[in-house]
């Protein structure tokens, strides 16, 4: 047992019960169905913008080249234009590869002591693979949900649904992204509790989003394949939200409200959590700066004007006294013997 994940798990279970029981109280449906989602969205957008602006106020005076390749230098030395870009083009490519394929994570290695005291670094791609699956399936699931928020539904969504459900298992057809999301979240959680080093550095704020996302995926799958909801009724409700004419549809069921509440909590929690890496990735100095350390002069923006007293001025001021005291000076009053003391010894 570990306090970090127990607390997170308990928090998610409490949230579940809160919504599950709460909607049955008078006014519960309006509270969990209308007030909380709107509030969550406002917190999400304002919190997100605020956080990014806060980051943008931190000066990044110098380039931070955590480079994995040769910097651009002499023309006959081959440079790594994506890993160590010297211009905007390279930075954009690097950023796209980072966002779309989690490229930095691909370099993940496992550090182990082998045979007692031999340190070894090993190829470790599982974290990258499951993170990639996680992010992509989450994105696809999210994108597919646009069918509840648009009318008419854009045609590209139907194409995506066809692709996602191409295995045509059961009815309603199994959507692969949902299963992949649940599997990937499970892997990311197991990784945190099964690898001792990772467990040691994992905090409640690492587990909580995992449990919450697990809860969201779980309630979604539960509704789609098992307990069933009236999809048309659910869409009538969500369309009410996005056309700013909210109304409650009867008989959508508690699980739907739990699902909605989990999503609202995730949205509201987002700007204050590590999930902000969604915006943060674009603000990472190691990813968004071209390595121009040697080409351009970068001046520290918070350098304040310093009153300078050069050695020459100092000597001009104290030359007489220095000579009296026998200290060496650079410019003699009568140009003689600056080196004499040394010669004598």
């Amino acid at each position: 047992m570990n306090i970090s994940y127990m607390y997170s798990l308990i928090a998610v279970v409490v949230l579940f019960l809160l919504a599950y029981v709460g909607v049955k109280l008078p006014g519960g449906e309006v509270f969990f169905g209308v007030i909380i989602p709107y509030l969550a969205l406002i917190i999400f957008v304002l919190g997100f913008v605020n956080r990014v602006i806060d980051w943008a106020r931190s000066p990044v005076p110098f380039r931070i080249p955590t480079t994995c390749g040769q910097q651009k230098s002499l023309p006959w030395i081959k440079s790594a234009s994506i890993d160590n870009p010297s211009g905007t083009g390279g930075v954009i490519v690097r950023m796209i590869l980072e966002v779309v394929f989690l490229r930095s994570l691909f370099r993940n290695t496992k550090c182990e002591l082998k045979a007692g005291d031999k340190i070894s670094y090993e190829w470790e791609k599982w974290l990258w693979l499951f993170s990639l699956i996680f992010h992509w399936s989450f994105f696809i699931v999210l994108f597919r949900h646009l069918r509840f928020f648009t009318e008419p539904v854009p045609a590209c969504l139907q194409l995506l649904e066809k692709l996602d459900g191409f295995l045509q298992i059961g009815l309603p057809g199994l959507m692969l992204s949902g299963v992949a999301l649940l599997a990937a979240v499970t892997f990311l959680f197991l990784r945190r509790i099964l690898i001792p080093q990772v467990k040691y550095i994992s905090l409640g704020s690492d587990y909580f989003p995992l449990f919450l996302i697990f809860g969201i995926a779980f309630t979604g799958i539960l509704m789609r394949y098992f307990t069933k909801v009236d999809i048309v009724g659910a869409k009538a409700f969500t369309m009410g939200l996005v056309t700013l004419k909210p109304h409650i549809t009867e008989g959508v069921g508690s699980v739907f409200y739990v699902h909605l509440f989990f999503v609202s909590v995730l949205l509201a929690y987002f700007p204050f959590s590590k999930l902000m890496h969604l915006g943060g990735i674009f603000m990472s100095p190691t990813r968004n700066l071209a390595n121009t350390s040697r080409v351009k002069r970068h001046v520290n923006p918070w350098n304040y004007p310093v009153k300078i007293h050069t050695y020459e001025a100092y000597e001009d001021e104290f030359r007489e006294k220095m000579i009296e005291a026998g200290l060496p000076v650079e410019k003699m009053m009568e140009p003689e013997t600056p080196e004499e003391p040394e010669e004598k010894e």
């Binding site: 999400f44 602006i53 009815l171 009236d230 048309v232 996005v242 056309t243 915006g279």
Partner: protein, 134 residues
């Protein structure tokens, strides 16, 4: 740290945030000024006469695909074609010959809902709408 409120790369950051806000609020402006009426699946005269579906309405609404799945498997795998519902009524387990026999107006019934919920059952690649076939 200096206590300044200056934003660095302001142009880029603000542009990025604008894109973010526009994307997030996509459903709000996409549906602006559009009426999004909830579809009312229209019952054909034949269905009206029958009064009842295979299962109670609330069940049909959410789980009709499950019934179709069950029917499909039973017919194709077990070669059984007769389904008895809980109230003892017997049905020939067939998509085109039973469901669409009552719900003759596929476009105004099945499709009305499906378009709204963005589901495109692939059944019609093979199965026919008897009305269209004629």
């Amino acid at each position: 740290m200096p206590n300044n409120k200056k934003m660095y790369d302001k142009g880029k950051v603000v542009a990025g945030l604008c894109i973010f806000v526009v994307l997030i609020t996509f459903p709000f402006w996409f549906n602006l000024g559009k009426a999004a009426p909830v579809p009312e699946p229209k019952l054909s005269d034949k269905a009206k006469a029958a009064k009842e579906c295979v299962m109670p309405k609330a069940y049909m609404k959410a789980e009709h695909m499950q019934i179709l799945n069950e029917w499909r498997d039973t017919v194709v795998r077990d070669a059984k074609r007769i389904y008895t519902n809980p109230s003892g009524k017997k049905f020939n387990m067939s998509l085109s010959n039973t469901c669409l026999d009552c719900h003759t107006e596929k476009a105004e019934f099945c499709d009305a809902c499906h378009n709204y919920a963005s589901v495109t059952p692939y059944c019609w690649d093979c199965h026919i709408d008897p009305k269209e076939a004629k």
